[in-house]
């Protein structure tokens, strides 16, 4: 593999000082990324373990498993996908999506009252 030379100066002259700042920020976050990775692996083991614990009803087991999965998904979204500090426009897109997904689930739910299949 060729190690590329230092990026050409000048092409991004106006962004250079900003880049150095960003690089410093990123370096601070690296430990956090590794920590989240370890947490996710631990939570995976916990999910598997808890699925063999009897919480009384199957519904209770499903609720526990989905709770752990939601925590994991939240970690991925907040840290790996940088959603913990994103620009307002991204949040707006996601809020719209949230309501559309609710609508989608509602449409499927309506199938329960379908007079043809019932």
């Amino acid at each position: 593999m060729d190690e590329p030379h230092e990026p050409m100066a000048g092409t991004m002259a106006e962004a250079t000082s900003h880049d150095e700042h960003a690089a410093h920020d990123v370096a601070k976050h690296v430990r956090g990324y590794l920590l989240v990775g370890v947490t996710l692996l631990t939570f995976t083991a916990i999910t598997v373990f808890l699925s063999y614990v009897n919480f009384g009803t199957q519904k209770a087991n499903i609720a526990v498993a989905l709770l752990v999965a939601t925590i994991k998904a939240g970690l991925v979204a907040a840290i790996f996908m940088h959603l913990s500090s994103e620009k307002r426009m991204i949040y707006r897109i996601l809020i719209f999506t949230f309501f559309f997904v609710l609508g989608l689930f509602w449409l499927t739910y309506l199938a329960w009252y379908d007079p043809i299949s019932r």
Binding site: V30, A65, F100, T108
Partner: protein
């Protein structure tokens, strides 16, 4: 033509183009998987007692694949961070590991997990014949314990011709442990480790069977949703691997030499997609493997 805001942020939104683009795309992906998950939820809630199978998938293998996908999520974010810190060699290695993780995930699915299912057989017993096959179902024992009944007998089909030949009147099955010893309390719940079918043979008359088939999508609502969702998820993993490979090849090196921040942004966008694929799997794994 120079496209604006590929590297620098637009002053009004504070975002560069591709970032908005990928999030709009991910929003449509949420709708795509949301539709399938909603189908799963309502199919499952609507299933008759005992009709939704539990413990048919290989949990250790699924756990391993989950760990592989999580590891690749870490390596792709590290690849991006390395680019931001202008450590190209580290980027190259992290990217390679990410690609390999994706390939291993797909290989496990396509070479091991899916074919193993295609080789497995299950027969749903008619309601009025359940009593006749009680030695394989153990429903009296389950009823005593307040557990849902078993309505299916599973294992390896010895006489494959029974699936197509109308003159063959019965299925000859090497029973899965759960049907070989159904009243054993150890069989009340699925096990972590996969145990292959026993050498205990059962003969099931076709007359008594409501529906029987290999574990294909058409076998049941469970396998239909399993193959559809994991199949679509697998296609996403494949797509991610292709994009990562493109960014990892010399094309990426050239772009890095020209404008490292541009490559970093491309990796960030591809990484966002990859994390989303990981996020979907975080729900697929418990819903299909564990519950």
């Amino acid at each position: 033509m120079e496209i604006p805001y590929t590297v620098t942020a637009r002053p009004d939104t504070g975002l560069w183009n591709a970032k908005v683009g990928i999030w709009l795309f991910l929003a449509s992906e949420i709708m795509l998987f949301g539709g399938l998950f909603s189908a799963y939820v309502f199919l499952r809630l609507d299933a008759a007692p005992g009709a939704w199978p539990h413990g048919l998938l290989n949990v250790p293998v699924g756990t391993m694949n989950t760990a592989i996908l999580i590891a690749s999520s870490v390596t792709v974010v590290m690849a991006w961070a390395s680019l931001k810190m202008r450590r190209f060699r580290a980027y190259w290695w992290y990217m390679l590991v990410t690609i390999l993780c994706g390939v291993i995930f797909l290989a496990v699915k396509l070479i091991y997990e899916w074919p193993q299912k295609f080789e497995h057989f299950g027969a749903f017993i008619k309601k009025d014949a359940l009593e006749k096959y009680e030695p394989y179902l153990g429903n009296h024992h389950l009823a005593e314990k307040g557990l849902p009944p078993r309505i299916e007998i599973t294992g390896h089909l010895h006489n494959r011709e029974a699936l197509v030949d109308k003159n063959v009147k019965e299925y000859e099955i090497a029973l899965d442990p759960v049907n070989a010893d159904p009243t054993n309390p150890a069989m009340d719940r699925p096990h972590f480790l996969y145990v292959p079918p026993t050498d205990k043979i059962a003969r099931i008359e076709k007359e008594d069977v409501q529906y029987a088939n290999m574990f294909l999508p058409k076998h049941s609502a469970y396998f239909a949703s399993y193959f559809t969702i994991t199949g679509l998820h697998g296609l996403h993993v494949l797509g991610g691997v292709i994009v990562f490979t493109y960014l990892w090849l010399p094309v990426g090196t050239k772009l890095y030499k020209r404008n490292p921040e541009h490559l970093a942004n491309r990796v960030e966008v591809a990484g966002l997609f990859w994390h989303f694929v990981d996020l979907i799997w975080i729900f697929v794994f418990p819903l299909f493997y564990l519950l």
